[in-house]
Subunit: 406 residues, 2 copies
C-alpha cells in the first residue's frame, strides 16, 4: 500500500478498496468538515443519541432505580471493560471502566507502589518519561507527595528509560503513544526489560487503544489505563478504564475503597472487603449515561479488524507525511515525529511557526486540526472515518493557504 501519489485519483482508489470504508457510516458526522482532531474527541456513533434517549425514556423513566439490575447497568463497568479488553488483548475480568484516566491512574499507581514495596522496601521510585502526558506526571507527583512520603518520581528522557531500571524502581509509567509527536514505544521490549529488573509496568493506552494493536496479556503487561473519548469514540469526558493483570489482581489494593468495590456492595457490611475480581478497582456509582455512550463507542470500534485498522493507520500517516514533505516543506513546514512506521501511532504533528493562524484558516476551509502551542499542528488520522482523499485534500488546502500567506 506504499502509494505516495500526488494525484487525488490514486487516493480515491485506495478509499475504494479500503476494507474499513463501511465503518465511516456508523458515525454521525458533518459532511462539510473533516475532523483531524478525533484523537482528542472521537465523533458520535450514529447509535449513541438514540440509545441515550431510550435509556432515559424506556429504562430510567419506567423502572427507576430497579434499572440497575433489570438492564444490568450495574454490570456495565465490567461488561464494557471486557469489550475494551477485546480491543487491547486482555482476557475477560481484567478491565473495568470507572471515573477518568487520571483518577484511574491514581488508583493504579498507589496500588503499584504498595505492591512493589511489599516485594522490596527499596523499591520506591516511579520511573517515567519526562515527556509523558502532563496529567500523568501530575498524578505521579501527587502519589509521591501525598500517598507515600518515601516515594519519588524520576523523570528521564524517553530513550534512557531502560537505562534507569535500577533495583529502586517500583513501577515504570509510560504512554504507549506520545500525545504530541505520535511516537509509539516498543511495549513488548520495555515490559520485558522492566520485568527483568524487577519493576512493574503501567502503560497509558490513551493514544493507542483502538488504532494500534495491543496484546496486553500476551506481552504480559502489569497495569494499564486509557481514555474512552479518543479513538474509542465514547463521547465527551467518557469514563476511562483500568487493566490489572490477573496475576496481580488478588493482592492488588487501591486506596479509594468505596462501596461498589466491595465484595457485596448491597449487604452494607460494617467493613470494607474488596471484590475478589476487577470490581475492586471501582469506587462509586458509574456515570451511567456517559457509560452508555462509551458502550456505543466501544461497540462500534470493536467491529473493525485491528489488522485492517493498523494497516490503514500506517498508510494514512505515510501518505500524509509524504504529501506534507513534498508540498509543504518549501513553506518551512516540518514533519515531526518518528520516520519509521513501526514507531508511529496514528497521529502526525507538523511544526510551523504560525501554527495557530494556519489552523484557523484550515478550519474555515473545513479541516479541523489541533494546535499545540506554540508551533505544532496535530493531525489525528483515525482509520475508522478518515479517508485517503481527506488527507490529500487537507494537504492541498494547506499548500494553497500557505501560498497565499507567503
Amino acid at each position: 500500500m506504499k502509494v505516495h501519489s500526488a494525484h487525488r485519483r490514486d487516493l480515491q482508489n485506495l478509499d475504494d478498496v479500503d476494507p474499513l470504508s463501511g465503518m465511516r457510516d456508523l458515525f454521525d458526522m458533518r459532511k462539510d468538515h473533516v475532523f483531524f482532531n478525533g484523537n482528542s474527541l472521537g465523533p458520535p456513533p450514529r447509535s449513541t443519541g438514540s440509545r441515550l434517549q431510550s435509556v432515559v425514556r424506556d429504562q430510567w423513566r419506567i423502572d427507576m432505580n430497579a434499572s440497575w439490575w433489570k438492564y444490568e447497568w450495574l454490570n456495565l463497568p465490567r461488561a464494557v471493560g471486557d469489550r475494551i479488553g477485546g480491543i487491547i488483548g486482555a482476557a475477560a475480568g481484567q478491565v473495568v471502566v470507572a471515573e477518568s484516566t487520571s483518577v484511574n491512574l491514581f488508583k493504579l499507581l498507589c496500588g503499584a507502589v504498595r505492591a512493589a514495596s511489599a516485594r522490596s522496601q527499596a523499591r520506591t521510585v516511579i520511573l517515567t518519561d519526562h515527556d509523558n502526558f502532563p496529567s500523568d506526571l501530575y498524578i505521579a507527583d501527587g502519589v509521591a507527595r501525598h500517598f507515600r512520603p518515601e516515594t519519588t518520581v524520576r523523570r528521564v528522557p524517553t530513550d534512557s528509560i531502560v537505562d534507569h531500571l535500577g533495583d529502586d524502581v517500583a513501577v515504570v509509567l509510560l504512554s504507549h503513544v506520545d500525545y504530541r509527536f505520535g511516537r509509539l514505544l516498543p511495549m513488548r521490549e520495555i515490559t520485558a526489560r522492566a520485568h527483568a529488573a524487577g519493576a512493574l509496568v503501567l502503560w497509558d493506552l490513551s493514544h493507542s487503544a483502538g488504532v494500534v494493536p495491543i496484546d496486553a496479556d500476551d506481552i504480559g503487561i502489569d497495569l494499564a489505563v486509557g481514555c474512552g473519548y479518543k479513538y474509542l469514540n465514547g463521547g465527551p469526558g467518557a469514563p476511562g478504564y483500568m487493566y490489572v493483570s490477573s496475576r496481580l489482581l488478588t493482592d492488588f489494593e487501591q486506596p479509594v475503597t468505596g462501596w461498589l468495590g466491595h465484595a457485596e456492595p448491597f449487604d452494607f457490611e460494617a467493613d470494607y472487603r474488596p471484590d475478589p475480581g476487577i470490581a475492586r478497582l471501582t469506587t462509586g456509582c458509574p456515570p451511567l449515561l456517559s457509560l452508555i455512550a462509551l458502550d456505543e463507542g466501544v461497540s462500534v470500534t470493536s467491529r473493525a479488524d485491528p489488522r485492517d485498522v493498523r494497516a490503514k493507520s500506517i498508510a494514512l500517516t505515510e501518505q500524509f507525511i509524504a504529501l506534507a514533505r513534498t508540498r509543504l516543506a518549501r513553506f518551512g513546514v516540518e514533519v515531526t515525529g518518528p520516520t519509521a512506521a513501526a514507531e508511529r501511532g496514528s497521529h502526525v504533528s507538523l511544526r510551523y511557526e504560525s501554527a495557530p493562524r494556519l489552523a484557523g484558516e484550515l478550519a474555515s476551509r473545513g479541516f479541523d486540526v489541533e494546535v499545540r502551542p506554540p508551533d505544532l499542528l496535530r493531525f489525528g488520522l483515525a482509520p475508522l472515518y478518515i479517508r485517503y482523499v481527506d488527507v490529500f485534500d487537507c494537504v492541498e488546502a494547506m499548500e494553497q493557504l500557505l501560498d497565499h500567506i507567503a
Copy 2:
C-alpha cells in the same frame, strides 16, 4: 397543615392548594406507578432526554472537541456546582461537580486530615457515626489505611458524637440525614461544637440536599459532599459534588492532582500547580453527558422554593406516619425513626417482618418502595412529585395487602 385525615378527599384538598403541584409536570413519570424510591434515583426531568440528544447532535457532532469551549462544557463542573450551591446555601465558587460521592469524599477527607495535622500533629482521628452510610465508612477506613498511617477512624454512636470531640479529632464526618431511618442531625449545633473543639466538619448531604434547607455558609461548615442522583434528579450515577468553604480553599490540598485541577490545564506545564479556586478539587475530564443530565436535574430542583419544599416534606412524612400508625399497626408494622418533624428528613422507614414480600406486592399495585433487608421498607417522600393522595393510596394499598396476607 396538621391534617391527619382518614379521608382521601382531605388529602386531595391538600394537593389542590400545594404550591409545588406544578413541579410534578416538569418530570417525565409513568402515570401507573408512584415511585417512593426517588431518594435512591430521582425521576428524569422532561427536558433531560431532549437536552442529551441536542448535545450529541448539535454540539458534539458539529463542533467536536471545540465544544468544550464553545458551549462552555469546561466550565460546567463549576457552573452546576454554583447552582447546587444555591440549593445548599453556598455562595459561588465553593462547590464543584466531579466523579462520585465516594471519590469526592476521599479527596476531601485526605485534604481535611492534611489540613488538621498542619494545625496540630496530635489531630489524627476521623470521628464518625457508626451508623453512617457504609461507603462513607469504607472511604474513611481507606484514607486511614492507605493515606496516612497515623490516622485512625473512630466510629461512635450518633448521640455521642459531641462527647468524643477530643483534641485528637482532625475531622468529624457525618451524614446530615441518615440513609436508613431518615434522622436529620442538628447541623448548626454539631458544627459549632466541633469547631469549638478545634475539629473540621465534613457533612454528607446526599439524603438532605434538595429536601432539607441547608445554610452551608451561614452555619459555617467546612466541607461537604453530596450525591447528584437522589433528590437532585441528576440521573443514574450522576456525578457528585464537593463543597469547600472559601475559608479553607486557598490552602486545601487533595491528592488526586490531575490536569483539570491545574491552574492552567492547557498550558501543559511540567509541574502541578493547583487552581486557586474550587477547580483544584477536580482531576480529569468530567463525564459530560452525565453532567448535562445533572444540570437538568439541578435546574428543575432549583425552581422550587426551599421553604415550600421543607413544609411539604414535613407534611408528607407526618401524614404518612399518622396513616401508617392508624391503619397498619395492627399488622405489626412499626414506624421507625424520629418522631419529631424537626429531626426528620424526607423519608420514613417501616419495620415489618415480611418486608420483601410486602414490597413485591406493593410494586404489583404500582407503588415502588425500597427494601432494606431484613425487615425495613423505605419510603422516600420527595415533595417535588409525590402527592398527598399518593401517600393515602399507598397506605391504603398496604392495609388491603396486609389484610389479605394476615
